[in-house]
Symmetry: none
Subunit: 220 residues, 4 copies
DNA sequence: AATGAATGAGCCTTCATTCAT
DNA sequence: GATGAATGAAGGCTCATTCAT
């Protein structure tokens, strides 16, 4: 009962708090963020945090869950068919998820913070967001590499691919500082996804024939 | 004069403080870390921090500078020769730098924190560590891709490669949780570097002919 | 009009609140008790306290008045007759009042709290409960001691007797810890009253002759 | 090390804090007392409580221990000899301990609070103060009552005696309100002790002979 | 009459920092 | 150079109370 607040006004306050908290947590991190700043931005009383979320950490956990709740599972039909097409679709899906301008801008930063400094809320991120995509991706990579590839090879390859996506969780300013050409990346998710897919699929091509026979087409 | 502390005892205290601070900052982050815990671990008085470093943030900056100071530039001869070999050497160098067990274990975590939540100390990391390697790598990739490749292509490709390295800065526990097979990675830097180099160099092979021509030109 | 709440439901809520408040105030004391815990135990909304009692202190006052309202005056016929019999009857009456298992268990604790840390509600306890019995007892003791006893002697003697009763207001656990044999005291009010009366009446016997004279005048 | 502060200045601050805290805790009780008021009266910074005692409850515990530390054990020679003399001496000792004007005035109130609303600090009061006197007194009473008295009889008699002493722990204003004649009691500890001893020893006299005289008027 | 939501006041506590020795 | 003591600032949290429904 104390945890179930279904009133419309109540929900609105919760929403304002989570949004403000998302911004502040993203900017300052869990510990450096103050409830004062959060409630000021939300335009509510400081005690509202305690009322709706019990304490700062629960508010943070709610923010993380909110981040994760945005996820959209790749459609099943995207995930069937030739594995290379699946991989391309999955990468596009992940990059779009990271850069989606219709989602709160602080989303990526929060998730990035969790990966850099895990808190108790990490479980939600892992279980809901990271692990499912990871499994999906492992399967696809395994299908591409074929049954003879070792498990470790499959895992490291998957990691190589996902790493290229995760790097876009970082604060954009850092990347832009290194490579000013990447300035408008948040509006180029398709382009980015295409690059990552091209790069990764190229890496996954079968190695060139040592002795190029005239008609050698064996091998996936 | 006030800034020059040359006594042996003084230097020893500084060293103990930086080492303890590195651990605590790595475990808890800049804000959640307390001087109390740091001075306890260092076995020195709490006022020593303010005496030697003026305040907490200067101590943190000193820790970051200390992290960065460990860097070893790739030897010039490694960076000449065929660009593919250079890339392979550079990747090995970076991975070794990240996982090197002879360096304080908290080094990677501190740098990772800076990337996730930049502070004023970020400049040092960028200028001393990231940017030089980035420039080096950009050059190598540019040489591999040839003069016809667009600048954006070069940058994104570089990013794809460096991203595979940066992922190893993350808290090991997260990766192991997803992929238990990676448990002993900190002792496998050569293997990891080889995988990343193989993967990236494979991706950088020229694209195969669309319609396999009768005489397929192989390129290494 | 605002003070007159005559609805049956309203009265029921008041009753539940007073009962729950009695428990919590008894366990924690006035200040440490929270309205949250009280309303939780009562199964009513937190705002009900302010609605029915205006504030926490009024609720506490109501609880104290409720405690006091339980008192039963000793029957007049008990208080006439030989003063020693009256004293015995009065002691039995007081002990029964303190230990009466048919009354809320928190009654004694509340009154004890008032004596230890008087609040504004103390007046009610004093005027309604303590003072009347005290006057009654003073009269009886005065009759026993005879007209030659000084007023101070009468008062101190009364205090000696009432003190033996008041000690049973204390938290039972303390006494049991000191004297485990007293564990079941709340079911032995008659036995306790008899002991106190015996002890006190024995003390009130006239002093024996120093040198037992040949014809010892006993006084009843 | 953190608990051992032996510096003279430090001890002085501790003393000021305990004295101020004793007053405030006595006046308001543990929960209603605020550190603000305590540190204001002590003339120190609010954070000094945390520095010297960690938190409010430890400060309270220190106050209670301080109360208890004042105790003076009855001299062994007082506790030998005829049991009636011992009892008289012990009562005088206890009353003097309670009313001693050379001790902080808040001492009795604190102990009384502990008996009315035990906290974790009660143990100290019981173990150091109450229990030893209780054992002493039990022994004396047992010797007076003789070997044929039941254990319960001994305990209840002891309780009757100690109760007469404990009543003087109560707020003086309450007693004075009931019996204005007791106004100056804190300067009459000898008189009070004599009364309690007289009253109790009278109660402990052997009952008058049933048939002592040739013409026995019975009546209890 | 009753309740869920919201609020303001205030308290305890933490923590970095300063100061005197 | 180093330390124990002390402090000011600020944050999180609790809680009684009020308000609108």
């Amino acid at each position: 009962m104390a945890n179930v607040k279904d009133n419309a006004a109540s929900q609105e306050t919760r929403r304002k708090l989570i949004d403000a908290a998302g911004q502040v947590f993203a900017e300052r991190g869990l510990h450096a963020a103050t409830l004062q700043e959060i409630t000021d931005r939300a335009g509510v009383n400081k005690a509202a945090v305690n009322y709706h979320f019990r304490d700062k950490f629960e508010l943070y956990a709610a923010v993380v869950r909110y981040c994760v709740s945005f996820r959209v599972e790749p459609s099943p039909e995207e995930m069937t068919g030739p594995p290379r097409d699946c991989l391309r679709a999955l990468i596009a899906h992940i990059i779009r998820e990271i850069l989606d301008p219709t989602k709160p801008a602080w989303r990526a930063a929060i998730i990035n913070h969790e990966l850099a400094q895990p808190t108790a809320a990490l479980d939600a991120v892992m279980d809901e967001l990271i692990a499912p995509r990871s499994r999906l991706q492992l399967d696809i990579v395994r299908r591409i590499l074929g049954p003879r590839a070792s498990e470790e090879k499959v895992v490291r390859t998957t990691l190589s691919i996902i790493a290229q996506c995760l790097v876009y969780l970082h604060d954009r300013r850092i990347m832009v500082r290194l490579h000013p050409i990447l300035a408008q990346d948040d509006q180029k998710s398709d382009e980015i996804a295409r690059h990552i897919a091209d790069f990764s699929l190229a890496a996954l091509r079968p190695p060139p024939r040592r002795r190029p026979s005239p008609k050698p087409k064996r091998r996936s």
